[in-house]
Symmetry: C2
Subunit: 240 residues, 2 copies
Amino acid sequence: MKIDRPRRLPDEIAKNISFAIEAGQLKPGDRLPTEQALSDQFGVARTVVREAISLLKYDGVIQSRRGVGAFIAQAGGRSAFRISPACFEKRKQLVQLLQLRTGVQTDASALAATARNNLQLAGIGGFLQEMISAVAQGGDAIERRVDAEFAFYRAITEASGNDYYVEFIGMIESKIVENLRSVAIKNARAAEWGEDVLAEHQTVFDAISARDAEAARIATRIHFERAAQRLTDRADIADL
Amino acid sequence: MKIDRPRRLPDEIAKNISFAIEAGQLKPGDRLPTEQALSDQFGVARTVVREAISLLKYDGVIQSRRGVGAFIAQAGGRSAFRISPACFEKRKQLVQLLQLRTGVQTDASALAATARNNLQLAGIGGFLQEMISAVAQGGDAIERRVDAEFAFYRAITEASGNDYYVEFIGMIESKIVENLRSVAIKNARAAEWGEDVLAEHQTVFDAISARDAEAARIATRIHFERAAQRLTDRADIADL
DNA sequence: ATAAATCAGTTGTCTGACAATATGTTTTAT
DNA sequence: ATAAAACATATTGTCAGACAACTGATTTAT
């Protein structure tokens, strides 16, 4: 059981304001209440409010002008892509997020097929062998299977040679496992594992090995679409 | 000429620390100097240092424990995808960024081909017509051309039905135009425009109109790869 | 009427203090 | 001597107030 972390006040305030913006209570161009008013409203010190506003400024959600005030920025001006925890509370958003992950991972595989070198291919193949042996062992090797799968696709992404793919997929992946009660999902996914899933990975590897970008794209897409299907089919997620 | 915005101290400090992490001076697990030490080192008040650290905490770059200190987080734990301005100073990173944009936009087009409704298609076609007429008018309609192109692909992305694609591409796009001295690039791109580029867009539209996802993917990829080529070929970017 | 000076309001920064928490040290009880 | 408890210390988190820098509007002087 995970202990609930001690909340930080500035984060709470930032979330509060952020929700107000998403809900449409504060529209682009509107002026935020003064820091003094906000600190009174939330019952915290002004430094806390300042830190909260500073976070939102960092993301480009609001802009402030000294001597004037803070304003809600235009919708297009975001300077960071951040996955809010709320995504995992609504089924539609979760599906969209998995869809995005699938698309990016697919591109990464296609890139890797042409950009990879032999050393990287060997590394990727090593994780595939790890998965195969873990499946053969069965039973108590659940963790090994799942970890190897993560490593497998991470190695593929790294072989693409594009650091942004690595960073982006890493971020999405960590957010997904963090919010979907990782252990339960891990077990669930591991339990569903069989030879067929292994064949999906094998196909991906073969395509990258053959430097066939299109085949890699198709194989990766098939796997992640099925994985997303298996994930969203689960009972504990279906009723979101 | 762009006026240099009044620097904000916390942002400067955050950048400084962030660079130190990227440069490897501070590795995951390392402990940050105390807030007091940092405020002495940078010659600012502790509140400023606190805001800076708060930003990095928000991105998951560092974690802090009350009574102990602040620590560099593991590389995989980022909770936001942010494009640092440094990307635009190195040619390799810029190419990678454009590659990522191309991949995601390509997926968005493919999705739009199947998910679009007729109303959205009409909107997309409208922007295509806008581009055609602007090109036909020639000369002083440069802004119209470029704005219509942005709107065209934005409309396609929205037609994909996935909000994350819209948000992600919008963020990347705004960062690109912001950092590549938008006006100069706009003019450059507009000057290079001709019937051939228009044909690229037309092909994309036709594929989406025909609900042909693969054709849409290919056509979009062709356009953006060529666009990236044209962009990086420019002299003022070539010598980064 | 126009321009300059003044003023009130807001954000940005500084300073100092205290609260909350973790770690290491010392004291005390057994 | 050992273990537990109390204490001291260090660090982050929060609070409170002040002043600086800046903006926009108001007032005043010419």
